[in-house]
């Protein structure tokens, strides 16, 4: 692409200005504030358009910066350029009301559409950022940005690309990442299903454990009840035995009146003996009285009478006592018989009741034993079931489906890694080409001082002066700018399908005369269209001197 003519209707400080260009190197000399940067911005705006920013940023953007002071309504211009042997006229109007762009082929009058991307096609698909990173070198921004590195990578992916179209490396990587995420989600879903199944088992386990706990409690209660029943039964049995004994041998609660009878009997027998002795004494006295030889018969008879009297008295007392005793005994007997009658009825009832209660207690015991057995068997059934469930939980087989998805995931990871590796491999080849090209340019510019330039993936740059490798930060500002220039020019050649004009805005400030001469020579030798803006006379002098 060759810029033929630039017509600025209204742009920044310029209005109604024409600039003519041709192939080869152009040097535009101007003092500070001449408007060099404005012209550069205009060319860029013509090629890529210029959007009005929004918000705060709008105050500082190019749109506001170059908005004409006097006639904002005529914020416009045109550019004539040739491309592929044909000449085009590109007209643009930037202001917010009449904003438009038109592109016409002047050879056949064909109208092209900027909106449909016809201009982009003519530019060889170069993006504004790539443009900034290669052919457009502005003051103080010689270092190419990250965009260049990415572009180079993408470029590498398409190296020598023939049919099929252009590969978007980042897009392909993203596609793989998304697929990987999708596959991981599938795996998770599968795991969740498995986990659900296991959760169900666990839930059932916990129900069974609860049941078992309930059974255990019931069992304990049962044990307690049983031991209570046993105790109760023992107590009842003891009581029963006692009752039974009492029935056999009723207890003497009062003394029998027999002793009194004995007393009366003593009285009676003593009385009888006294009477008999008294009678015998009286008789014996009477017999002795018939025999005269005994004079003591009267006292003897008297004693006999006394004893008889005493005997009679004792007899009487005995009889009275006896009668009283008899009466007393009869009442006691009556009483006792009545008592005994009552007592034996009570005792029998008690025994019957106790027997009944003992039977009841035995019944309870039996029931409790039966219940205990039932609880035990229920508990065991639960235990077996629980153990079976635990066994089931432990058996976790990995399904073939899962294995297949796992393999998919592995394959996707492998694909991403391999793609990265392939891109790197291609990148290394591109790097080599860039490095070769840049080395060549750097060699030309530095007059052979640095013959080899090495740029790595992450834009680490070093140069080789024939003896040693020198990294960028050890070099002078001038040399660094020359290195960047070399890389930019090499990249532009590699990346751009269409050779674009090189626009250099005050870029040679740090170049010494010798290297400036070499750089200009290199530019003119390449037959590129180069537009150099400068505020020094050196460039023009050198060029004139050469001519």
């Amino acid at each position: 692409m060759i810029i033929k003519e630039v017509y600025i209707k209204n742009f920044g400080k310029f209005s109604e200005q024409h600039f003519q260009f041709d192939t080869g190197v152009h040097i535009i000399y101007g003092e500070n504030e001449f408007g060099k940067s404005t012209l550069v911005a205009f060319i860029r705006a013509m090629l890529f358009g210029m959007e009005r920013g929004r918000g705060k940023a709008a105050a500082k953007d190019d749109f506001s910066r170059y908005e004409p002071w006097d006639n904002p309504n005529y914020y416009a211009g045109s550019m004539r350029f040739s491309c592929g042997g044909r000449t085009f006229l590109l007209e643009r109007s930037f202001d917010r009301y009449t904003k438009h762009a038109s592109l016409v082929c002047e050879d056949d009058g064909e109208e092209l559409s900027v909106k449909q991307g016809d201009l982009e096609m003519l530019l060889g698909g170069i993006t504004p950022l790539m443009f900034d990173n290669t052919v457009l070198v502005r003051q103080m921004s010689a270092k190419p940005g990250q965009e260049l590195s990415d572009s180079l990578k993408n470029y590498a992916a398409n190296y020598y690309e023939t049919g099929g179209g252009e590969v978007d490396l980042q897009g392909a990587m993203k596609y793989l990442k998304e697929k990987q995420k999708d596959t991981e989600r599938q795996l998770r879903l599968l795991d969740e299903k498995q986990e659900n199944k296991r959760g169900k088992i666990r839930q059932e386990c916990s129900y069974i454990t609860q049941d078992m706990e309930r059974l255990r409690q019931e069992f304990e209660e049962n044990q307690q009840q049983y031991s209570e029943s046993v105790r109760e039964e023992a107590r009842l049995r003891a009581q029963y035995e006692k009752e039974e004994k009492r029935q056999e041998k009723p207890k003497d609660t009062e003394e029998t009146p027999g002793l009194y009878e004995k007393k009366s009997r003593t009285f009676l027998s003593a009385g009888i003996v006294g009477v008999l002795i008294g009678i015998a004494g009286i008789f014996w006295g009477k017999i002795l009285a018939r025999q005269d030889w005994f004079s003591g018969s009267v006292p003897l008879q008297l004693i006999g009478y006394l004893i008889l009297a005493a005997g009679l008295i004792l007899l009487c007392v005995g009889i009275v006592k006896r009668t009283a005793e008899r009466r007393a005994f009869r009442t006691w007997k009556k009483q006792t018989v009545r008592n005994m009658k009552y007592e034996s009825t009570d005792n029998e009832a008690e025994c019957r009741r106790l027997a009944q209660e003992i039977r009841q207690a035995e019944e309870n015991k039996k029931k409790q034993v039966w219940q205990r057995e039932k609880l035990q068997s229920e508990w065991k059934e639960k235990e077996v079931r629980l153990e079976n469930l635990h066994e089931e939980e432990r058996e976790s087989e990995i399904s073939e489906e899962r294995l297949l998805i796992e393999e998919d995931l592995k394959a996707l990871k492998m694909a991403a890694e391999t793609m990265e590796a392939a891109a790197k491999r291609l990148g290394r080849r591109t790097d080599e080409r860039i490095n070769d090209k840049a080395s060549e340019i750097l060699g030309a510019v530095t007059g052979g001082r640095y013959c080899r330039l090495q740029m790595s993936d992450n834009m680490d740059i070093s140069v080789w002066d024939g003896q040693r490798r020198i990294s960028l930060h050890c070099l002078s500002r001038g040399t660094i700018e020359q290195i960047y220039f070399a890389i930019r020019m090499a990249s532009a050649e590699l990346l751009g399908e269409e050779e674009l004009p090189v626009i250099l805005d005050d870029m040679f400030v740090f170049y010494d005369e010798k290297r400036l001469k070499s750089a200009l020579k290199w530019l003119s030798d390449t037959k590129k269209q180069a537009i150099i803006f400068t505020c020094q006379r050196r460039e023009a002098e050198i060029m004139e001197g050469r001519i």
Partner: protein
Amino acid sequence: MKFIHIADVHLGAAPDSGKAYSEIRPKELWDTLEQVIDVCEREKTDLLLIAGDLFHRQPLLRELKEVNYMFSRLTHTKVVLIAGNHDYIRRDSYYRTFQWNQNVYPLFGEEMEYIEFPELQTAVYGFSYYTKEISKARYDEVYACHMQPFEILLAHGGDEKHIPIHREKLESTGFDYIALGHIHKTEEIPETVKKQQILYAGALEPVDKNDTGIHGYIEGEINVQGVRTRKVACAKREYVPLTVTVDEMQTSGSLKAVLKKMVEEKGVENLYKIVLTGYRDADITFDTSHMDSYGNMIEILDKTRPLYDFAHLAEENGQNLLGEYIRMFQGCPENSTEYKALCAGVEAILTNMH
């Protein structure tokens, strides 16, 4: 002497049976056992031999009562069983205490024992599992004691962890019939008469999706001529492995129709394991989650490969990423993970080519 030999009934299991049959499947295992018992009763079979794994896990008391009730209905047949690795006699096993009906003869000893049936001139030998696994080849040391003219061994196992079985050793044990259990898979057994037979009955009903083939029991008769056996199919369902080869014309919809037709042909009562192979259109991925027309597909494994002409693609894309990528997988076999990665990467690049 007529016998029926079954094994691996796995009562209490809930086999993988797809949406349609998962609910009723556990019950079907019981139904089929009942069916076999009906056959025993009808045919006046002398012995019903159960070569282990009657239950899938430790039997519950009520399950034992159920089974015992079934056995107790037999008026002629005597039942001999052993415990296998699934229903092994654990310390708390109900097998230890259960009171079987009088026609049931469990050989539940840990060591070899036998039971004689003089009226049948038969003795049946066997022992039971007391652990889940037995890696010792215990059947290598057994032999028939010739207590009766006809001698039968009930044996369970046949893999590394469950009593490895050496057939040639079994052949020299002197048993007329060895009723094996544990291996579920069954092969066709033609009706034969031999002096000695050693056979796996296979699972009565298939209980795992890998138990493919026809399942049932072995019917046999021993007399002085030898042992005559016959395999009888009786399982209600079958696991049918189906491999379907797709071509680049196939879409999800057309594939679903193809599968539906195949299932109809092979029986909707059966359960299917489907593997898709072949080359599909590179732009199509089959939605396998919506292809189960009858709810009887246990799994559908999509092993299809996208149809790419890698050689041509590589050539056409010589030096760019696609060409480079394809070349990095050169020579990888089609069933490898690498091949899958190759397909995935090519798909990613092609969909991102402008």
